[in-house]
């Protein structure tokens, strides 16, 4: 059974059906990302103006050169997806595969860079001290006293520890539950002042600073739980990354398994590439707003 109007336009709309379909879908996506952007607005405008929950500058935590490069990668992938569609219009299947290949590679690059950025967040820690100041840096170890008095050392803690009077009151996400244990101290390689090159490796550059448990209110890596800024950052960028991944899968299909349609019905394939391209442009459009809002403001 043939799906109607995949090539021939409908007389009432003047368009083939999937074009209307994709625009309706993109309209719903506008509401999805729009709602999350509104969440960002509310979270940011209701943040306190002093204290540890003050809304940070994006540049305090996010790497702007990497974000700018990622923006350039997506914009490039947008023009190459158009060129791949143009190649199909001109019935040049070799050029189509080339440009679509570049588009897919750009998508992979974007996701790899995003994964690296996420990893950087998860290995970076913030220690909230009792005087409400925060020490940030890379963790050397967290040393906890067991009930029998022996010390247990953790070289990483993916989650947050709440501490009152040197005793862990809440521990989240990591496998061990260390609530009610005494926190002896934390060794951290402090971040250099803003503007200096960021020291990444634990073993090498900055010397570790020892902070005793009774001075600490909270220890946490920069996951979504660290601050509402990170919660909305991870929500928005992860949902966007999922869209990049989905679009990439469709684009990859069209240039590999789906290429057979070039022989049987080239205009249908051209239309498929056109509507996939529309989705891909939307993904780029969302990032065009995400980048300045999260990284630059």
């Amino acid at each position: 059974m043939d799906i109607p109007y995949t090539v021939t336009p409908r007389r009432d709309t003047g368009l083939y059906n999937s074009k209307i379909g994709i625009w309706l879908f993109l309209s719903s996506e506008v509401m999805l990302f729009g709602a999350l952007f509104c969440s960002y607005i509310l979270l940011r405008t209701s943040a306190p103006v002093t204290g540890p929950l003050v809304w940070p500058l994006g540049s305090d935590y996010l790497n702007i050169p990497i974000g700018t490069f990622n923006t350039a990668v997506l914009i490039t992938s947008s023009i190459t997806v158009i060129l791949s569609w143009a190649s199909l219009v001109r019935r040049d299947v070799k050029k189509f595969k080339f440009y679509m290949g570049v588009t897919v590679i750009c998508g992979v690059m974007f996701l790899c860079i995003k994964s690296y950025e996420y990893h950087e967040k998860f290995i970076h820690y913030g220690i909230l001290l009792n005087d409400q100041t925060t020490v940030k840096g890379h963790l050397e170890e967290i040393v906890v006293k067991e009930k029998d008095g022996t010390e247990k050392k953790y070289s990483s803690w993916n989650g947050a520890l709440q501490i009152v009077n040197g005793v862990v009151t809440q521990s989240t996400f990591h496998n061990d539950q260390i609530a009610d244990r005494e926190l002896s101290y934390v060794l951290i390689h402090k971040d250099p002042p803003i503007g200096k090159h960021h020291a990444v490796a634990k073993e090498g550059h900055a010397e570790a600073t020892k902070i005793y448990g009774n001075q600490i209110a909270r220890v946490s890596n920069f996951g979504p739980w660290y601050h509402p800024f990170f919660a909305i950052y991870f929500t928005l960028t992860a949902l966007h990354a999922l869209h990049v991944f989905g679009g990439m899968m469709v684009n990859f299909y069209l240039m590999t398994a789906g290429i057979g349609m070039f022989k049987t019905d080239p205009q249908h394939l051209t239309n498929r590439v056109e509507v996939s391209g529309l989705f891909w442009h939307f993904v780029d459009l969302v990032w065009i707003f995400l980048f300045p809002v999260l990284y630059l403001l």
């Binding site: 709309t13 003047g14 368009l15 509401m31 709602a35 607005i41 509310l42 707003f289």
Partner: protein, 105 residues
Amino acid sequence: MSDHTHDSHHDVAHFNHHIRVCIGVFLALMVLTVVTVLVSRVHLGTAGNVAVALFIATGKALLVACYFMHLISEKKIIYRVLIFTFFFAAGLVFLTLWAYQDHYF
């Protein structure tokens, strides 16, 4: 009958022109990205920086929508769909800003 050598509502010259325009838009988008980053380093106050960043981002988004997504010469039905989208998205933002007055958070 099904093998059109080009889009049914375009002639070849118009199509080639459209592709050249898109390449121009691509270059403009790259430049605007650099401008966005450079302008963000100038301190205009929070409201000022937000306004400038959103203004440039909207400009880039319009370029993508009008030329990459071909909206500038699209059929009426698509415009009708997007009017609804714009109305509801604007409503979403408006309700958000209105809710801020409630001081429940």
